[in-house]
């Protein structure tokens, strides 16, 4: 029951109705990405021709195993790691779970304290909460500033003698803020604690070097970088101990039982290889599109604010709050116009609560509710950005026409412009998207 439009036209092609201009513009690449053609082709080969079980000793198995190892080397390459440090998993969520649970179990002699942040993905936050409930961990949740940045000094101060692990995400999935990973990595190294980073959003989007960054454990997920869903990996620095989450056969050097998802892993490996080759080009193109979209929106729509850091953000992330409107209504209107965007994260199934990330940044709930995340991808074009800039301001205007609060704010602004001070104090979001 996928929409006919989706089947009929690729994400960026002109499609649809006679008369009305209609495009399909997919701007939800932080939720998931389409699989590249060559990746899908490579996977098909490992489904229909070399379909063996990588654990089998015969040649079907050997070819499957060789393909798995080649993929491991490719993923390792993009990390700046060694192949034997890469453990394939079913996705980023599993990698997050295992990195925290598995390292606490392996280093229980050191203590059970974990330092993390308030803006982590739920895969980290809910794992921590569960461990607290089970009595297996004590967790410190660090705050962030208005740009969603963690202060490395806060990390240093939070580390105790019984701290086993610091887990700070590389880049946030909602607002795209990139954390000062180098500094945090250095701090962890100095204090002798493990450093885990959830790099699900950043992997493939920006260059990596686990050594330079002082990373001990890192979660990544294939479907965020134009690879298949259902595959991810955990980087485990050589010499660091970790206990498995899933026991059974001796797969993945006894770190993750289960028949290897050979086509999935092959697809992930190729996607990583393509990301490595195209990295510079992607970063340049996406950053340009991103900045044009941000500038265009903030310039065209009043009472709008950029969420996240103005410069230290993922090349593809645009997150804007529009005052006096509900993000959900914006999304519905956009979807009708063929634009797929999101409010907050799609990773939280069907939740309508205001984003924990925006709240942690100190953004008032009513403004957080009006936020829209648009995340660009390699297939997006300048025309896509033009189309959004053409459609979105009108959508906001129509929705605001129903808002008495908006009318009041406009009147106040008009009075202010006329030199008369308004009665309304500064209550709304402040920094008007300074960039």
């Amino acid at each position: 029951m996928t929409s006919e439009r989706v089947i009929a036209g690729m994400a960026t092609s002109d499609g649809g109705g006679a008369g009305e201009r209609f495009r399909s513009v997919y701007l939800d690449h932080a939720a998931t990405t389409p699989v590249r053609r060559e990746v899908a082709e490579a996977m098909a080969h490992y489904m229909l021709t070399d379909y063996g079980n990588a654990s089998s000793v015969h040649s079907f198995g050997r070819r499957a195993a060789e393909a798995t190892e080649e993929a491991r080397a490719r993923v390792a390459d993009l990390m700046g790691a060694r192949p034997e440090e890469v453990v394939f998993m079913s996705g980023g969520t599993e990698a997050d779970n295992m990195s925290i649970r598995g390292s606490l179990a392996a280093y229980s002699d050191r203590g059970r304290h974990v330092v993390t942040t308030k803006i982590e993905h739920h895969a980290v936050l809910h794992t921590c909460e569960e461990l607290e409930k089970e009595g297996l961990a004590e967790v410190t949740y660090l705050p962030v500033d208005r740009t969603a940045t963690v202060d490395p000094d806060d990390v240093a101060k939070a580390i105790r003698p019984d701290t086993v692990l610091v887990s700070v995400m590389f880049a946030n999935n909602e607002v795209g803020t990139i954390q000062p990973i180098m500094e945090i990595g250095r701090t962890c190294r100095e204090k002798g604690v493990l450093f885990h980073t959830d790099a699900v959003q950043a992997f493939g989007a920006v260059p990596f070097s686990v050594d330079e960054m002082g990373i001990d454990l890192m979660s990544v997920s294939s479907h965020k970088l134009y690879g298949p869903k259902g595959v991810g990996a955990l980087y485990v620095r050589k010499g660091r101990r970790i206990r498995p989450l899933i026991h059974g056969g001796g797969h993945e050097r006894k770190r993750r039982a289960g028949t290897s998802n050979v086509p999935g892993v092959v697809g992930f490996g190729l996607a990583a290889e393509l990301a490595r080759k195209e990295m510079d080009d992607r970063v340049r193109r996406l950053t340009a599109l991103r900045d044009r979209l941000i500038d265009g929106l903030l310039g065209r729509v009043e009472f709008s604010h950029l969420n996240g850091h103005p410069t230290r953000r993922l090349p593809n992330n645009v997150n804007v709050s529009f005052e006096f409107v509900e993000g959900e209504s914006i999304l519905l209107s956009l979807d009708k116009k063929g634009i797929a965007a999101s409010s907050g994260s799609a990773c939280t199934s069907g939740s309508l609560e205001p984003s924990h990330v925006l709240l942690a940044m100190g953004i008032p709930p009513e403004v957080a509710h009006g936020s829209v995340r648009m995340t660009l991808g390699t297939q997006n074009t300048d025309e896509d950005v033009d189309y959004v800039l053409e459609v979105l301001p009108g959508v906001i205007e129509r929705l605001r026409a129903m808002s008495p609060l908006h009318a009041k704010a406009v009147a106040e602004r008009a009075r202010e412009a006329a030199g008369r001070p308004g009665e309304r104090c500064e209550s709304g979001p402040v920094t008007p998207g300074a960039r």
């Binding site: 379909y51 259902g230 989450l245 028949t259 799609a346 199934s349």
Partner: protein
């Protein structure tokens, strides 16, 4: 969704007594098989070749309908609908309600979730689990983890010589503090069908009725090997939890599911965004799940009885061909699929040719294009270690060391089964002359 096996050529049925005849590559309607034109793939219990329609469905959803099911835009809703469809298909196949299906990253994960999830959730109601000694490593190792990490006690029940566990033996092992009994439907190495229905019935009488013990012990069935080949009905088995895996039924690797009966409490293994009704977080493997559903609906077109009949025919044909030429062949487990209530799954045949090491025969057969395995693929990493299944069955050493497993799928033809039988007989004859040294 059309039948998968229908358009495959049946091949010549004449008695092929000579050397292996080259067959048309790509006999399954897809691209050529990775093993070359002479290939006879008899290792479907390790993993089965995805149906062509499965690969197409996977590809379509990856390139075109690639949304995240949690997204509320059109692409996301489409992906969610596709997942729902597969959930309904699987539920129908095993006689469950769609809300009772939890998709996982495979059979091993589902087994881990069943054992650890139940143990965590009921840790204050008892710390004892019962399982057979011939379970898959993902059940046994998960249970060992319960032992070492949570202080559980395990009772491992040994099978008889034919690989079957007696229901009385399971019942006798159950204690007042047992929280879970885990028994596989079909053993992956020898194909023995366990009396899961009878065990389920007996456990029903032992379940607690109130307080902390209400509903305990729970009954978990690993049906990874039986799904799609035999009738799998969670109600008829009295199963509270049941594990299945996509890649054993011509679906994709990296996807499986756990059936969790309504009302059964379970602590998730993987926490996060609350997917799968909070029981297994992580962005759904949409292509995998869709491919799994597509594979099942392909098999569903035939019905398990028809699939089972065809597989039994292949198995019987191969066994008859070998038996006619090798008097010394030993059938491990109960090779009889013809009885009214078969004790042996239709797709697995485990044979020993005492004196010829299993690995040697396996390698020799590979050279003639016949792909088989020694024991399960999972234990092949521990080379030199003997099959825990055959040992638990109490078989003599020379039988254990010479065992090979042949496993069939609906993509095999009778001509292949017969030809494989001939190649096996020829290999055995040659190896016996060389004194088993390959």
């Amino acid at each position: 969704m059309s039948g998968k096996g229908e358009d495959r050529p049946t091949g010549g049925r004449g008695v092929a007594c000579g050397p292996a005849k080259a067959r048309r590559p790509g006999a399954n309607g897809g691209p050529p098989d990775g093993g070359g034109p002479d290939t006879i793939y008899l290792d479907s219990a390790a993993t089965s070749r995805p149906f062509v329609e499965v690969a197409e469905a996977v590809r379509e959803i990856m390139e075109r309908s690639y949304g995240n099911p949690s997204s509320r835009h059109t692409l996301g809703l489409g992906a969610a609908a596709a997942v729902r469809r597969s959930r309904e298909i699987l539920a129908r196949v095993i006689g469950a309600d769609p809300t009772e299906i939890v998709f996982t990253g495979g059979g091993s994960e589902a087994n881990n979730l069943a054992l650890k999830g139940v143990a965590w959730a009921h840790v204050r109601s008892g710390k004892h689990v019962v399982l057979s000694a011939v379970e898959h490593p993902s059940v046994i190792e998960a249970a060992r983890w319960l032992e070492s990490f949570l202080g559980f006690e395990l009772s491992l029940v040994n099978p008889d010589r034919d690989g079957a566990v007696r229901p009385e033996a399971i019942e006798a092992a159950v204690r007042p503090d047992t929280v879970l009994v885990s028994l596989m439907h079909v053993n992956n190495e020898v194909g023995t069908v366990q009396p899961v229905g009878e065990v389920g019935r007996r456990l029903l009488g032992l379940k607690g009725t109130d307080g902390r013990r209400k509903g305990l012990p729970l009954f978990h069935v690993d049906a990874v090997q039986s799904l799609g080949r035999m009738a799998v009905d969670v109600r008829a088995m009295g199963a509270d939890l049941l594990t299945v895996s996509g890649h054993k039924v011509h679906g994709p690797k990296g996807v499986g599911a756990l059936y969790v009966a309504r009302g059964v409490r379970l602590v998730p293994l993987v926490h996060g965004g609350g997917h799968e009704a909070g029981r297994r977080s992580g962005t759904e493997n949409v292509p995998g799940i869709v491919g799994f559903g597509e594979a099942l609906s392909g098999l569903l077109d035939h019905g398990p009885d028809e699939v089972g009949r065809r597989l039994s025919e292949l198995k019987d044909l191969l066994l008859a061909t070998v038996r006619a030429r090798c008097a010394g062949v030993v059938v491990n487990g109960d090779g009889d699929t013809t009885a009214a209530r078969p004790r042996s799954a239709p797709h697995i045949l485990n044979l020993s040719f005492p004196g010829i090491p299993g690995e040697v025969l396996q390698h020799h057969l590979e050279r003639s294009g016949v792909y088989v395995s020694t024991g399960s693929a999972c234990s092949s990493h521990h080379r030199g270690r003997r099959s825990h299944v055959l040992q638990a069955m109490g078989l003599p050493e020379d039988v254990v060391d010479s065992a090979v497993r042949l496993s069939f799928s609906v993509l095999n033809t009778p001509a292949e089964a017969e030809e494989a039988g001939l190649r096996i007989a020829a290999a055995v004859e040659e190896l016996s002359e060389r004194g088993g040294r390959g």
